[in-house]
Symmetry: C2
């Protein structure tokens, strides 16, 4: 045997890259942390459900002891209910999410607003109730060092998941509050199609309201239910490098999370998926 040529060195992992836990949900938290350390990934975006399974304090210790930063917690929100009891329960759940974010040491709680209440056709009313909930939650979050980050979801989720569909709407909801309390999430999967989004990103950047930046690509055909068909970085229609440049140009210097929801990717090996996603992100961010 002759000596094998070593493979080309991969692009170094940028310090601002973060892996959202949902991307590799087949990895239990300890494995995710171990693989991040092995690859040189320094940030993780966590989700409440797996954090609750492992325990918030234990999760915080595990991540901190490994030298990782929690870049965001997903997610609060679902604030569109009409009935007082349901609204009170939603607010209580969001306060719990804020507490969990503080425990994890992240300053960013992602909010998905919620869809239309059953039988309702009143989008404007639902959006207004999100604003009312922000007024109730903002000070509580600020006291704990947590910023609320409103995430507009793609309009295909407007009925059943998120009545906030554009960055303009999210910024309008954030406007009454100081940027240290309420800002927005820019997720390429949700806003890539929108020709008004770049101007909104510029305004959000100037106002210091970009509290999270997430990457996913758009691939077709969409799967039934349309939730779990986000494309691996570079596989789809989104000019991700352009979006990274845009966020750079408006002064965003925070973490860049890869957040994929994809049944096919989840069916494969989690460590390999993390490595592949990290390599692709490193190329985009280099």
């Amino acid at each position: 045997m002759t000596a094998a040529t070593p493979p080309p060195a991969p692009a170094p992992v940028p310090a601002r890259f973060s892996i959202n836990q949902m991307t590799v949900r087949q990895l239990p938290l300890p494995e995710l942390v171990r693989e991040c350390v092995r690859l040189g990934v320094r940030g993780v975006g966590l989700w409440r459900e797996p954090v609750a399974q492992y325990g918030p304090a234990a999760s915080a210790k595990l991540v901190r002891d490994a030298g990782l930063e929690v870049t965001s917690l997903c997610r609060g929100g679902f604030l569109t209910a009409v009935e007082p009891a349901a609204r009170a329960a939603a607010l209580a759940d969001n306060r719990a999410a804020i507490d969990e974010a503080a425990t994890l040491g992240t300053d960013t709680l992602v909010l998905v607003s919620g869809g239309l209440p059953p039988g309702s056709k009143d989008l404007a009313g639902a959006r207004a109730r999100v604003g009312e909930a922000l007024a109730a939650l903002g000070p509580y979050a600020a006291e704990r060092g947590v910023r609320l980050a409103i995430e507009p979801l793609h309009p295909m989720f407007a009925a059943d998941r998120c009545v906030v569909s554009t960055l303009d709407q999210a910024l309008a909801l954030a406007a009454p509050f100081p940027p240290s309390q309420v800002g927005v999430v820019v997720d390429t999967y949700h806003v890539w199609w929108d020709d008004t989004a770049p101007a909104a990103v510029a305004r959000a950047g100037a106002a210091g309201r970009i509290h999270a930046f997430q990457l996913a690509d758009w691939v077709t055909p969409l799967p039934a239910g349309v939730l779990n068909g986000r494309g691996q970085l570079g596989d789809g229609a989104v000019d991700l490098r352009w979006w990274v440049s845009l966020l750079d140009s408006v002064g965003y210097r925070g973490p860049v999370e890869a957040e994929l929801f994809n049944e096919e990717l989840w069916a494969g090996d989690g460590a390999a998926l993390l490595s592949d996603t990290t390599s692709r992100a490193a190329l985009l961010l280099s």
Copy 2:
């Protein structure tokens, strides 16, 4: 047996109601025409493929002899190709569609712009090519008494079907041309979620650029591929009565088409579907 109480008389069918052929695609054209006459439906929106099967001239005679009006022809468009040969073929196909519209006696050809060319991530460039194609097609259409109606499709189709996602974009594309040449389609399924759409409808109405108005409801979960899951009128999240009022308020007096694409509805009896859709539309338009 006692004499049965007669059922309540259904709402009369409004003169402006039109059934889009795709809604009941299980009905061959002669059956569609016969059922429209039986129910008192006076307008039909036709599609090129079934018209080609029956023959454009024969279709025109069949519909005209039954006293029906063709309210629109679907569809031209798919104008985003880059290669000269593909662009020339698309323009030729659109001229044929304009000729077919003239043969059918409708003044409205619906245009679906087309998605991103394979491998492209350049949405803005694709939209610009749609504008160039309109410049090539507008005069040809005007000479034949046909108006081009740009239909924004829901943003979930931006990559693979239609890079024009909002009424604002459609109106910007129409702006260089006289309203008698180029206008827009307002389809509730595609624009219901958009809080900028009502202002765009108002501008379009004032400019005389609403060339078609189509109704469909939004129901979830969406099916795989998301094309054929449009909801029956009244079954979903869209406040259709509000949209009808909006179009009324901006001076739109043209036909109102029901256009559903729904695999489950297509699997049932076409005449019953036509009757049900007509009854629901009659209530909305009354």
